[in-house]
């Protein structure tokens, strides 16, 4: 989608069960061309604090990568404007 010369990229936020899985996901996604970064969750979930992987692209594409490697995650949705990947 392009609006008045600004490109708005889709961002997908995946909540990860641990930092180890967050890095594993990040490396798998980056290796396949998805810009992404690990961020501390802004708000603690019911389980407590944790890490998320913010991926540039659709959640569907990111999930397709991670499902092949048995990486557990929860899709939280799209990222905010401050998502600098």
């Amino acid at each position: 989608m392009q609006t008045q010369g600004v490109i708005l990229l889709k961002t997908c936020i995946l909540d990860m069960p641990s930092y180890t899985y967050a890095v594993k996901a990040q490396r798998l996604l980056r290796a396949r061309g998805f810009p992404c970064r690990i961020r501390r969750r802004e708000k603690a979930s019911a389980e407590g604090c944790g890490f998320s992987v913010h991926v540039s692209g659709s959640c569907r594409s990111a999930e397709a990568v991670l499902s092949g490697y048995a990486v557990p995650y929860t899709v939280r949705g799209g990222g905010g404007e401050d998502d600098k990947l």
Partner: protein, 378 residues
């Protein structure tokens, strides 16, 4: 000073390891997996990289690669964790106390029934020992890959096959084999425990537990993991379930660097060098009366040689050699079962070279062992 006590811990460490330690102290001072700030994230990345390196080296998944304090810590977690619901446990008669004591402690509490499989120089007889002890309730077999006393290699692939065929968890102690032999979980090992500070050339205070995930390991320590913080229960995901508390991040980084050193030097080259030094040592003492070398032609050995000098107990011999500048470990090497199997009296002196020892150093040692024989009490 010439160090031939590398089976206890390798020294010196490779320059790459020393540099990695310095870099880790300088740059990775955060707490891994605990915070979102730059220092914590940088440190977490470094820990993950070390985890990934170790995982790849042993054919495990990074998340199934757990950093521990040492091999004993890893073995305790594996043995107690797999046997938490009881059952029958088999250990070999060459086990180090790191495996034998946790097994014996569980048996003393009547939590498990314990059998000891006798190890012979002949592999077939050893495999048969294990086979004959398997029962319907056998849950795990614990076996060292190489004896820390003599270096004898155990037929671990065949023992792994035996375990797999009977649905038994195979826990391997790789403390004296990892870094020298190409050990992979795919060789029939369900849980591999090893030290980071021996053949992997990391610093002391490091170890690894690698699992294929087939057998759940109940944690023996609970605490903070940086994940599921609101739950009072330990997370069940690896590595967090087995890595409570702040890990030895600097140590883990050095283990990663040590594995990098082995890979770039070449494991085959490294092993050939150490084997050559062992041959030189044995050949140098051949024909010298009164020297007992604990090797059997029917067995294969990792680069370790146990010996005794007639007229000296092992501690006296090691002390006299220490006075001449040689570091060798004497006594029972924390392996009562292995010494009972070998039938040693008063332990042995252990020669354990590393990649950094030279032929010249071995020749000096041979000369000094020979001259000890001429002392008054020999």
């Amino acid at each position: 000073m010439i160090n031939f006590d590398n089976a206890a811990t390798t020294f010196p460490k490779p320059i790459a390891v020393r540099r990695a330690a310095a870099e880790a102290i300088k740059s990775f001072g955060g707490n891994a997996g605990r915070g979102g700030h730059e220092l914590a994230m940088r440190t977490s990345e470094a820990l993950y990289s070390a985890r990934e390196t170790a995982a790849e080296f042993f054919g495990a998944a990074p998340e199934n690669t757990v950093f521990t304090l040492n091999c004993t810590h890893a073995l305790n977690m594996a043995i107690q964790g797999v046997m938490s619901q009881g059952g029958h446990l088999i250990i070999s008669s060459m086990e180090h106390n790191s495996a034998a004591r946790p097994a014996a402690a569980l048996a003393m509490k009547k939590q498990v029934s314990l059998s000891v499989a006798e190890v012979f120089p002949d592999s077939e007889r050893t495999i048969d020992s294990f086979r004959r002890l398997i029962r319907s309730d056998t849950k795990a077999v614990v076996c060292t890959l190489a004896s820390n006393v003599t270096g004898q290699l155990l037929p671990y692939r065949e023992i792994g096959q035996l375990c797999r065929g009977n649905g038994i968890c195979f826990i391997a102690d790789g403390a004296q084999a990892c870094g020298i032999y190409d050990i992979k979980l795919s060789q029939g090992i369900n849980i591999l425990c090893t030290a980071g500070h021996k053949g992997l050339y990391g610093i002391t205070g490091t170890g690894l537990l690698l699992t294929d995930g087939e057998f759940p390991i109940t944690p023996i320590i609970q605490g903070g993991t940086g994940s599921s913080s609101l739950s009072l229960f330990q997370p069940d995901l690896l590595p967090d379930s087995l890595e409570s508390g702040t890990p030895n991040i600097i140590g883990a980084v050095t283990v990663g660097a040590g594995i990098g050193f082995i890979s770039s030097y070449g494991m085959g080259r490294l092993r050939s060098h150490e084997e050559r030094l062992c041959r030189l040592f044995i050949e140098g003492l051949e024909g010298t009366g009164g020297i007992t070398i604990y090797r059997d032609p029917a067995a294969e050995y990792a680069p370790i040689v146990s010996f005794n000098i007639e007229g000296f107990n092992s501690e006296q011999a090691a002390e006299l050699l220490a006075e001449r500048g040689f570091c060798l470990r004497a006594g029972y090497h924390c392996a009562a079962l292995a010494h009972a199997t070998l039938g040693t009296k008063g332990g042995t002196v252990r020669f354990a070279p590393s990649v950094f020892n030279t032929e010249e150093e071995v020749r000096k040692l041979v000369y000094n062992v020979k001259t000890l024989k001429n002392l008054p009490n020999s």
